[in-house]
């Protein structure tokens, strides 16, 4: 997987979130948290995790994901994971 910029990762996450939450108008910013997105429950958390793996070609541990508090940290985490693999 080639290096993706923060913007590229955010763009891709936007698409994934729009699919998972069925909200075509959703726009993510670095400050967005789980509380900001209606319907972000434990089931959707799992859907998202599997979606990140499919989209970015990485394997994610739930213990790592649970520590992240907003989309900005998620983007940093995913980029770091992609570089590692």
């Amino acid at each position: 997987m080639t290096d993706l910029s923060r913007d590229q990762v955010r763009e891709r996450l936007n698409e994934l979130f729009r699919d998972v939450f069925d909200q075509p108008d959703l726009v993510l910013s670095d400050e967005t948290t789980a509380a900001d997105v209606p319907g972000w429950d434990s089931l959707n958390q799992i859907r998202l995790m599997l979606a990140y793996e499919g989209a970015f070609g990485v394997r994610i541990r739930q213990s790592e994901i649970n520590k992240l508090s907003n989309v900005g940290e998620l983007i940093d985490f995913l980029r770091a994971t992609m570089l590692r693999s």
Binding site: D19, D22, S42, I46, R47, A51
Partner: protein
């Protein structure tokens, strides 16, 4: 399409249509899931008519499965109200007679895994201990799944990824693999005819062990299989449910040129078509014919729909030595130069089935596209241009699922042939009475105790001649308090089996008909006239002064009011139709000899 759809917003109708795309469940899970979740939203917001109540009972998380299951059931003609039993209460829910599964649901879907075994013997057990444990396990589950008042679909037990006895885990006492296989076999015998069992081994094989056992997802959320296993699991379970509900399709409609043989017979002549062992191409078409022939042996009906002169089209079926299919195998043979959509409608009408009973196989993408848009109720099989792949493409759709096999199933192909013969005679003959008399029909009244399975199946499957939606379980039919008139029809062409059922009880001065169904296979035979005579005779014997029944309109039983009127029933209070027993019989003669079986009934 169902006219109810016209009252829904356009984007909702479009979504419901998208749900019926033939190869949807062959796509990736995310695509299936997106549509499934949208469908869930539509189901929550809109009135789509009466719903079958379904309870899913499992010891694993079903949260990701249920939307796909709802979609799979919808695709197969079941609009459901779907509930999941709470996580982890599989055995208590099944054991409790007042549970939702046992008292509320019309259909219960039971999904155990090998993790739910109660009596799996330990490694080192003797063969005797293991055999006793297998029987105990099978009886335990049999007892649990036969308490529901509704129908049950049971997924058999899967085999574990981690084999304690290695390669011998399937063979030695103490192996969970052995326990699972043997328990499944015992359950299949114990539950035959009572519960629809899904073959877990076959499912596991199709999905693949890698996806069937997902340890990571199991630790994460207690779903033991990958998301990618969900479409196949959902559709396989839905297929059995549809079969129980009488929604399995019935007729495979086949094109001829480049489908049942290679080449265009009108251009190249019978001698040049590719069929038989000389070439790989011929072998591929032979394989398709052999596959279709096998389907007819267990109740699937074949029809031909071809753009050809009829005599050219029929010739190979009569005279070509390498054809596996013969004229006798085809219940309805249509070959002309009209458009195929009109021809499919004609085929459905001749065989007295709905368009939703048809599966269409044609190598031409143009014809497939045409039928898919003109007749959305017909299932169009997606094909590529390699005939070697055609049998697998049909098989993968599982369009003719079986929940149980009855003598009627085994005989159905011949029976439909007889139907088609009668239908065309009825259309063309100027002396219908003479024709019907010449068939020398006999009606035999069957004893309910020995025919209850077939009776229940007929009541579930029949849609057109059915007074109202009330169904009866086998237990209901055998209980006292109601009388079940089960009628078998035979004539010189065919034994049609049990084709009509009337459930009655005496209520003060009336013989109350709870329901009356008649198979579409015997329409135009005037059996309803003979049935009326039998009901009137029974009413007189019991001292009732009238017959009373309740008609409730559905999408499919619109012919009932006309028939009731011609039989002399009149609407009394808006709900019931009545017919006094001393009203003279003015219906057309049915020429049927009536054999009342056990007259004490």
């Amino acid at each position: 399409m169902d006219s109810d759809l016209l009252t829904l917003p356009l984007e909702v109708s479009a979504l419901l249509s998208a749900c019926h795309a033939p190869s949807l469940f062959a796509k990736s899970f995310p695509e299936v899931e997106q549509l499934a979740r949208r469908l869930a939203g539509v189901f929550a917001k809109h009135d789509l008519g009466p719903r079958t109540k379904v309870r899913v009972v499992s010891s694993f998380t079903t949260s990701f499965l249920v939307d796909a299951l709802r979609l799979a059931l919808f695709r197969r003609g079941l609009t459901v109200e779907l509930e999941e039993a709470p996580y982890g209460v599989l055995v208590p829910e099944l054991a409790d007679p007042d549970s939702r599964a046992n008292s509320w649901a019309d259909l219960v879907i039971v999904l155990p895994t090998h993790r739910d075994f109660q009596f799996a013997p330990p490694v080192g057990s003797t063969a005797e201990t293991a055999t006793a444990a297998e029987l105990q396990e099978a009886r335990f589950w049999e007892s649990l799944v036969t308490r529901a008042r509704g129908q049950v679909v049971l997924l058999g037990f899967d085999t574990p990824r981690f084999r304690a006895l290695g390669e011998l885990d399937g063979m030695l006492p103490g192996g969970v693999t052995r326990h699972a296989r043997r328990v499944n076999a015992l359950l299949a015998d114990l539950l035959a005819g009572k519960v629809a069992m899904v073959d877990a081994d076959a499912l596991q094989m199709r999905v693949g062990t890698q996806r069937w056992h997902d340890e990571r997802l199991y630790h994460l959320c207690k779903q033991p299989f990958s998301m990618d296993a969900i479409p196949d699991l959902a559709d396989t379970v839905a297929a059995s449910a549809a079969a129980l509900a009488g929604k399995a399709r019935k007729v495979l409609v086949l094109d001829l040129d480049n489908t049942l043989w290679g080449g265009v017979i009108g251009d190249i002549g019978m001698g040049q078509i590719a069929i038989g062992p000389e070439t790989a191409e011929g072998e591929a078409h032979t394989a398709l014919q052999t596959y279709c022939k096998a389907l007819t042996r267990r109740g699937v009906v074949l029809a031909v729909c071809s753009k050809n002169h009829e005599q050219f089209a029929r010739e190979p079926f009569r005279d070509h030595p390498a054809m596996t299919l013969r004229e006798d195998d085809i219940a309805c043979f249509v070959a002309n130069f009209e458009d195929k959509a009109s021809n499919l409608v004609r085929i459905a009408r001749t065989l007295n089935v709905g368009l939703d009973a048809l599966v269409f196989v044609d190598d031409s993408p143009v014809e497939r596209e045409l039928i898919a848009s003109a007749l959305p109720e017909v299932l169009v099989v997606d094909l590529n241009d390699d005939p070697a792949s055609y049998p697998a493409a049909i098989e993968a759709l599982n369009a003719f699922p079986l929940a149980r096999l009855t003598p009627e199933d085994l005989d159905r192909a011949r029976s439909y042939q007889a139907i088609a013969e009668v239908a065309s005679a009825v259309e063309t003959t100027s002396d219908l009475d003479g024709f019907l008399r010449g068939l020398a029909p006999t009606v035999v009244v069957q004893d309910i105790a020995s025919s209850v399975s077939r009776v229940a199946q007929l009541m579930a499957k029949t849609n057109q001649f059915k007074l109202n939606p009330d169904l009866f379980s086998e237990a209901d039919l055998l209980a006292g308090g109601r009388h079940v008139l089960a009628l078998q029809l035979k004539d010189r062409l065919q034994d049609y089996g049990i084709v009509a059922v009337v459930v009655t009880r005496l209520e003060s001065n009336a013989l109350l008909v709870d329901n009356w169904v008649m198979s579409c296979r015997v329409f135009s035979r005037r059996l309803e006239n003979a049935t009326l005579e039998l009901l009137t005779a029974r009413a007189l014997r019991l001292g009732a002064s009238e017959l009373r029944l309740r008609y409730e309109a559905s999408a499919k039983n619109i012919l009932i009011p006309g028939i009731l009127e011609s039989l002399g029933f009149t609407r009394s209070d808006g709900t019931y139709s009545v017919r006094p027993v001393d009203e003279p019989m003015t219906h057309a003669p049915h020429f049927m000899t009536i054999n009342e079986g056990n007259p004490a009934q």
